[in-house]
Subunit: 115 residues, 2 copies
Amino acid sequence: MSITADTLRGYTDTIILTQLMRGDSYGYEINRQVQRRTGGAYGFKEATLYTAFRRLEQSGLITSYWGEDGPGARRRYYTITAAGKQFWEERSREWEETRTLLNALLALEVEHESD
Amino acid sequence: MSITADTLRGYTDTIILTQLMRGDSYGYEINRQVQRRTGGAYGFKEATLYTAFRRLEQSGLITSYWGEDGPGARRRYYTITAAGKQFWEERSREWEETRTLLNALLALEVEHESD
DNA sequence: ACGATATACCTCATCTGTCAATGTATATCA
DNA sequence: TGATATACATTGACAGATGAGGTATATCGT
């Protein structure tokens, strides 16, 4: 985990929703996918992950149900709602914008880089 | 201000340091430069800005001194220290990495985008 | 049979950064 | 004289991340 969570604070929800856009999943699996997709560079702390699920469910962005057991204990599966998909779209666009802004704000060079 | 600060939470210090890498400056001016560089899309709230100065100074990343008055009230100028420059280097590298990770984590498409 | 390990979920107290609200003071201009 | 821009500062509230602690099941080697 070479990246501290504070540098992507606020993106936890969107990262989780991105995984759920691909289909229902559960906490442990979502975290494994995040780790795989970042080459092991990032993974959620458990407390971060599960408090995010509570937050997202209470906001109506996801719903949940108990699924069948795997090789470990029981799994709680999550489904992204229509509101969740809309929220994901907004946040994705916002990320594009934020990325552009930070590129501009953290560059020492003179103005006008395209991105 | 179309971008909420929560999406770049944690970058306040680095943004301020970037401005100070160009030379000494003071709060009001730094904020104006941030607004100009983002085409008005982002600016610090005053409380955020001044609490950041306290934090940075206490961490030894900047020093300050009272400068001459401008058209308004007196100005407190800030100087980036050697430790501040080193911190800025680290954070800049970390931003590159975070950008790559978030691009990967927020993309629905299949793997292997270069950036 | 037993212990280690991986799977899987959960909560709470604490810490940190952001910000609304509020306050002070000076210079300019109509 | 009052509005506006410049300029700095503090405080209480809030929200997200996390360390530390907990529960439970399945597998695998010895």
